[in-house]
């Protein structure tokens, strides 16, 4: 009996034991992880196997899509006609404003030419719709239905009518993943509305943004809006980032910590605009 127990206890460390295969596989996986972290092969692989995940996205989206379509068909015709009319008048108004803008833009261009200033912003944008889910494997992110085919590249800034949303981090053929500005370690170069203060704003994974150490002499008040500065050459100048909601004194009396509420929250939009790269 004792002999039997002893031999059973030792079995793990004999040639029969799977310990060698465990160690080999563990080393293999660590090597693969390191290699992937350096060379980003997972991103390339994901682009190639996107067709496997697409049906799952379709399945997740299907219920809301069906409900939306049923809702659309069940809507009263009169209501829709009224909406069409109001949209038409809005479009007419916008066209009139656009004409004025075209004139101003042309004037601006010629003035810039005269003053020899480089054109900083070209509004080459594409409009994308946010696709469910709003998370993948627990990590919050946005998926939009535009990809490489629409001229989107990794790093393209994403915004909506309220302000800056984030930056494209993965691009597939027809889908892109957007990292939100509130994500951990997300950094944006910002200026105040009156242009007197410049700082780096960080996301920290919470719903708010933060300026960790703003010199106390900077005159920033509650409710002040912050805009992109354009200095980072990624985000065009003047996109609204958020407004100051809290100023916290730090241990060092020369600096304050600023808490900013983002201008956009994930629940507040279903469409986003992606500024195509090469057009900061």
């Amino acid at each position: 009996m004792a002999k039997k127990t002893a031999s059973k206890q030792l079995r793990l460390f004999t040639q029969e034991s799977p310990i060698i295969i465990f160690v080999t596989l563990a080393m293999c996986s660590i090597a693969i992880m390191s290699y992937d972290y350096r060379h980003k092969i997972n991103v390339q692989l994901k682009q190639k196997v996107a067709f496997v995940i697409t049906p799952f996205h379709w399945m997740v989206n299907a219920p809301s899509q069906i409900i939306r379509e049923i809702d659309y068909y069940l809507s009263e015709q009169n209501k829709l006609q009224q909406q069409i009319l109001s949209l038409k008048s809005e479009a007419n108004l916008l066209q009139a404003i656009q004409q004025k803008l075209t004139l101003i833009e042309n004037e601006n261009r010629s003035l810039r030419k005269i003053l020899n200033i480089k054109n900083l912003i070209k509004n080459d944008m594409t409009i994308g719709e946010v696709v469910l889910p709003s998370q993948t494997n627990g990590a919050p992110q946005l998926l939009i239905n535009k990809g490489m085919d629409d001229g989107i590249d990794i790093g393209s800034p994403v915004m909506n009518n309220k302000g800056l949303v984030g930056q494209v981090i993965h691009v597939n053929k027809n889908l892109s993943t957007v990292q939100k500005i509130t994500s951990n370690n997300f950094a944006i170069s910002a200026i105040s509305e009156n242009g007197t203060m410049a700082a780096l704003i960080f996301g920290n994974g919470s719903p708010h943004l933060v300026i960790y150490r703003l010199p106390a002499y900077e005159k920033l008040r509650l409710g002040d809006h912050l805009l992109t500065s354009g200095l980072d050459q990624i985000y065009p100048k003047g996109i609204k980032i958020g407004k100051v909601i809290k100023i916290i004194p730090t241990n060092n009396s020369q600096f304050n910590e600023i808490i900013i509420e983002p201008a956009t929250s994930p629940q507040s939009f279903s469409q986003v605009m992606v500024i195509k790269s090469g057009n900061p």
């Binding site: 465990f22 993948t136 494997n137």
Partner: protein, 162 residues
């Protein structure tokens, strides 16, 4: 050496079906759970599969399924592979050292494996985007354990019944 038993076609179908459902679940954000607290379905699935009966699956198969999960939804290739492997090893060693026989003991072992899996997952995280708030991390652990118990129930019903 662990003696491997082979699964019949219907059992294989259940395991594969649950794997596909797990992929689907990872894409869904449940409205009543904050995004940072969503369970790690793959760890729950792997622990349930291993703890119900690891004789059905060799370490190679578990590792391979981990790699597939990594390619489809993971951050890094090898992360889930590594996590599943360590869960398998932990289960193997604990089962060898302790006499885990009753249902309660198996459940506690499963919970320990889930906690270990989540810890390994955090340690190998490429983004270090660990939940900022203790409450959301705690909720994630609780929801993952609940998911594990549900998976375990399904596996026990289906893998043992057929």
């Amino acid at each position: 050496m662990i003696q491997q038993k082979s699964l019949n076609n219907q059992q294989k179908l259940y395991v594969l079906g649950l794997f596909l459902i797990t992929i689907l679940l990872t894409q869904i954000s449940l409205p009543f759970i904050p995004i940072g607290s969503l369970p790690d379905y793959f760890i729950a699935w792997a622990v349930a599969l291993i703890s119900v009966n690891n004789k059905y699956f060799s370490v190679m198969k578990i590792f391979f399924l981990g790699l597939v999960a990594d390619i489809l939804i993971g951050q890094l290739i090898g992360q889930y592979g590594f996590t599943f492997l360590l869960i398998y090893v932990l289960h193997f060693f604990i089962s060898k050292m302790l006499a885990i026989q009753s249902n309660g003991q198996k459940t506690v072992l499963g919970v320990i494996l889930v906690l270990s899996g989540l810890l390994i997952d955090y340690m190998t995280s490429a983004t270090y985007e660990i939940d900022n708030y203790e409450t959301s991390a705690l909720l994630k652990i609780i929801f993952t354990i609940i998911t594990f118990l549900i998976y375990r129930l399904i596996f026990e019903m289906k893998l043992k019944a057929i």
